[in-house]
Amino acid sequence: MSHTFIEDTSQTERVKKATPDKPLLPEWMKETKEAASSSDLIYGQPVIVAMRWILVASGLLLILWNPDSLSVMRVQILVILLLALANFYLHAQLLMKRPVIDEVVYVSSAVDLILVTVLILIGNGFESRLLVYYFPAIVSFSVVFPTVLTGTYVGSTIAVYGLIGLISGGDPMIILTRLLIIAAVGTCGNLYLRIERSRRKEARESQEHLMVQIRERQASTAQ
């Protein structure tokens, strides 16, 4: 009887493309250190896409609910629709099971942060109520991107928001509190990513060890 592996996720094929060969294990189980980030991206991309749809839907709802002046509303709707278009592209890639270039995902998350920052700037900086949109944006990439990149993005957000807060005359204590919570969300997300990566590595290693033992037993029985 041959070995049968039941692959139950649609993303398995895409992970195969991101992982090099290794003996003994089926391809979808392979995940070298180099490929870990790439497969994290593949699996984590639905989180980013879902976050962005929520951003688009809630943004549109709020614009239509309490409209500002016509000119501002035009710009807001245009920005939301462009964001929706970009997200549709990424979502379509996911649905067609096509691998998205890593850099595209990195840039699109940076654009999310820039967009929130611009909206905060327009909305009186420190007084803007849109600060809270940083949190879902940070969650979505902190559970996907490598630590260095997450650190860079979160660090830049902290630096820029801190500056905006101070320039717009915000209370330094409240600014500091906000910056700490932004850091907390980024840290928690990335910490969880690292924990899960380590758990998967252990699971793979024990699986590989088990497979070796089973094959050795089969070989000795056959003899």
């Binding site: 009887m1 989180v47 609910w65 949109y133 204590m173 509190t177 969880y192 699971a203």
Partner: protein
Amino acid sequence: MTELRSAAQEAAEDLFFGQVVIIWARWFVIISGVIVVLWSSNNTSELTTAVLMVVPLIAINFFVHGRYLMERPINQNLLLGLSLVDIIVITIIVLFWQEPNGYLSPYYIFYYPFLLAVAFVFPVRVSVPYTLLILILYSVACLVTDSSLVADPYQLEGLIIRLITMATVGGLGAFYWRIQRGRRRAAAGHGMKAPASS
């Protein structure tokens, strides 16, 4: 075939490995809380009251972190109980710690790290009610402090933005938890038939 890892064991491992995320979320909130307390207290009695609220949180987190470092993490019920204490303390801060309170209090952001950390550690059947509880607690805290909020479109819009983003953070955490569980199961060979002798 018999699975190598039971669902109960998997849940226990989730708790074992994941609770450090809750611990770090709590440390961040404690640090922020200490800064707020030291910075904003106007007199010694106010500082004393505030410190009395922060010290138990620090003691709790030392205990939990210590147990984790000794590889004897606390059980699910205690961890969940402490997570409830966290959000009750934050709600008290939103309601009573210096004016402005309620919707205008800037300390509602303390909810976010806990929303995320709990969604990472507990299964969806726990994390979703936890998220809902936070949304209800915060909404009630805002309405109790100033019920005219409902009649003010600007403030109501602000409240809804906060509730949407809180729900999103909790929801994304739970979504990611499910993705990771699937990946882990795949890596551990769940659903895989063992090779049989030919």
